[in-house]
């Protein structure tokens, strides 16, 4: 009797895809224009300190090699078609293909963001549930106060505090660097990586709980005051069983959706945390690219972060469509 609404789901994804492509093209174009108009001379950025040794002839050669002498539109089309073919160019800082740099760094960032995402999601959800079930008590007021304060806390300052407490005072963790300095990458163990992951994850999680907690609290208060919870109580259900059966079911979905939709903030948070902890992820690469004028890498990162945010939003939409029976199942009377 139930029928999975497959056709509609496909259409939905297709529409989202089209929208995504138009946005992405526009973002590429705008970013490209912005970057091209920056006062930073790409050749100088590339050559760096050796600039004095480079004569005007050589300069021109480099410009020609990169197509810098052509009109901007042509440059954009050249760059665009290369991107479509999967070639994002070569990073000036790392002297390696951008796609490789992003791929490697993304793996690092993913470990960081995913752990923080899960941890803050679960802890925030539990905090929200506790606050709502104990609404009006001191514990609710404390959770609320904590969350509102966190929303005003600069991420990088929280990172500095965490660093001071755990690395400087307690000496439990090394200061900075994704892997121990001077160790060959083959020799880096999983434990090393995890050890360097803990503090940034902690920082992002401490701050990340606020949003989910406040949202879950609000939502659960509404659910617990709903007619169906009233009726459940009339049937003799109470306490934790009541929450488990009706509360959880009805607040989990909005919380999951919210967490997916927060990918943009997650990325922003990762940029700051990576900078504070010298963690070699995408965020740190973004700052490096911005500071040192690595145009291909910067453009690649803009594209990548956009896709990342989009995937989050898509997952948020999909989770509703797949998990909520009201949109999942066709109406049948």
């Amino acid at each position: 009797m139930r029928k999975f609404n497959g056709g509609k789901l496909g259409l939905f994804i297709l529409m989202k895809g089209v929208r995504m492509v138009t946005l992405l093209v526009a973002i590429c174009f705008i970013s490209f224009l912005l970057v091209k108009n920056s006062p930073i001379d790409p050749i100088q950025a590339y050559i760096g300190a050796d600039m004095l040794k480079v004569g005007p002839e050589q300069r021109e050669k480099i410009a020609e090699y990169w197509g810098l002498d052509q009109p901007v539109m042509v440059q954009f089309l050249n760059w665009g078609s290369a991107v479509l073919a999967g070639d994002l160019g070569t990073s000036m800082i790392f002297r390696r293909p951008v796609i490789e740099v992003i791929g490697e760094r993304f793996f690092n960032s993913l470990a960081l963001m995913l752990s923080a995402w899960l941890l803050s999601g679960v802890v925030g959800f539990v905090m929200g549930v506790i606050a709502a079930m104990k609404k009006g008590t001191w514990i609710d007021r404390m959770i609320k106060w904590y969350c509102f304060t966190l929303a005003s806390t600069p991420t990088f300052w929280m990172g500095l505090l965490v660093l001071m407490v755990f690395s400087v005072w307690l000496g439990w963790f090394p200061i900075g660097m994704g892997v121990p300095a001077g160790v060959l990458s083959e020799d880096v163990t999983l434990m090393d990586r995890i050890q360097h992951l803990i503090l940034p994850v902690l920082t992002l999680s401490i701050l990340g709980v606020a949003n989910v907690a406040l949202h879950t609290r609000q939502k659960l208060i509404v659910v617990m005051a709903s007619d169906y919870v009233l009726f459940a109580r009339a049937r003799g259900e109470k306490g934790f069983a009541l929450f488990w059966r009706h509360g959880l079911r009805n607040v989990a979905l909005p919380a999951i959706t919210l967490q997916f939709a927060a990918f943009s903030e997650l990325f922003g948070g990762a940029v700051l945390a990576e900078q504070v902890f010298s963690y070699p992820g995408l965020g740190q690469a973004t700052i490096e690219a911005g500071l040192r004028g690595d145009v291909p890498l910067l453009l690649g990162l803009v594209i990548f972060s956009t896709i990342f945010v989009f995937v989050g939003n898509l997952l948020a939409d999909l989770s509703y469509r797949v998990l909520d029976p009201r949109t999942r199942e066709v109406r049948k009377i």
């Binding site: 946005l23 973002i27 912005l34 970057v35 806390t153 500095l160 940029v271 910067l298 990342f308 945010v309």
Partner: protein
């Protein structure tokens, strides 16, 4: 079927409304003090004083001194004033964009609405911080880059609020009546729409202001915002990183805490304003 219980007894000396107002006034006094302090503070307080380098917080130097013997309290207050100033410019710019685009989307037809909603999506699909880095890079960093970046990144959500508000007012009965009476679009805008969106705009502005300040500090901290010669909070904190391992915790602790308090205060003013102007929506 609980009957709607409406109450209109209001005799107690300090009711909720007055308490909210009181909170707002206290916050404003504090913030004004910080700003005035930043402007009026003696420049001498932060001149290099090598005889008092790296001293921990004491009565004489509440927040301690840095490696050049500069008083951290004075630096912090100046930095906060600067941050509030830059935040103010960015927030005003953002609110203006939100106002213009919000009204345009609501009043200029379906096409305009679609285009503006597309632009909003465009801005929301890149992480704020990445957009800020990109813009700062394009404009070569510094004051101009950060202000333009902040202005361009914070308007979308407020624009949506204003659009919805204007749409709602336009479909309201009294506006429909005015239209039938032959009043001009301009007359309706000034007499009906503007008075209704001003509170929303004010609340929206107050709520985005703290975000702007936080983002300014973050971008400056990352080295893409205000120049290292400015006494900004972001600069102070990024400098403090070099001295963390030597145990000079006060360099980072107090400035950051003060930034947190200032941001929280602005946020609270915004929330309180919302409670004052729109009691039903902010119901707990």
């Amino acid at each position: 079927m609980i009957p709607s219980l409406k109450i209109n007894i209001n005799k107690f000396p300090l009711n909720r409304k007055q308490r909210t107002l009181f909170n707002i006034i206290i916050s404003i006094i504090f913030l004004v003090t910080v700003i005035l302090g930043g402007i009026l503070l003696d420049e001498e307080r932060i001149v290099t004083n090598l005889s008092e380098r790296n001293s921990a917080p004491s009565l004489e130097h509440l927040f301690g001194t840095d490696w050049l013997g500069r008083d951290m309290f004075a630096r912090t207050v100046m930095g906060l004033a600067l941050s509030i100033g830059v935040g103010l410019i960015g927030a005003i710019g953002s609110a203006l964009i939100a106002l213009l685009l919000g009204i345009a989307a609501a009043t200029m037809g379906k096409m305009a609405d679609r285009i503006i909603s597309w632009i909003i999506d465009l801005f929301l699909s890149v992480p704020h911080l990445v957009t800020l880095v990109l813009i700062a890079f394009t404009l070569g960093g510094g004051f101009k880059g950060i202000v333009i970046g902040l202005t361009l990144t914070h308007w979308p959500s407020l624009a949506r609020v204003i659009r919805a508000e204007v749409m709602q007012i336009r479909s309201a009965e009294f506006v429909q009546v005015s239209q039938k009476m032959g009043k001009s679009q301009w007359w309706i805008a000034v007499h009906h729409i503007l008075p209704h969106i001003v509170p929303q705009l004010l609340i929206g502005f107050m709520l985005l202001f703290p975000h702007v300040i936080l983002h300014e500090a973050a971008v400056t901290f990352l080295g893409l915002g205000l120049s290292p010669h400015e006494p900004a909070i972001g600069i102070i904190l990024s400098e403090s990183m070099r001295y963390l391992s030597s145990g000079m915790w006060w360099l980072a602790f107090f400035p950051g805490l003060c930034l947190l308090i200032v941001v929280r205060m602005f946020d609270q003013i915004g929330e309180n304003l919302r409670v004052l102007m729109d009691p039903t929506r902010s119901h707990d």
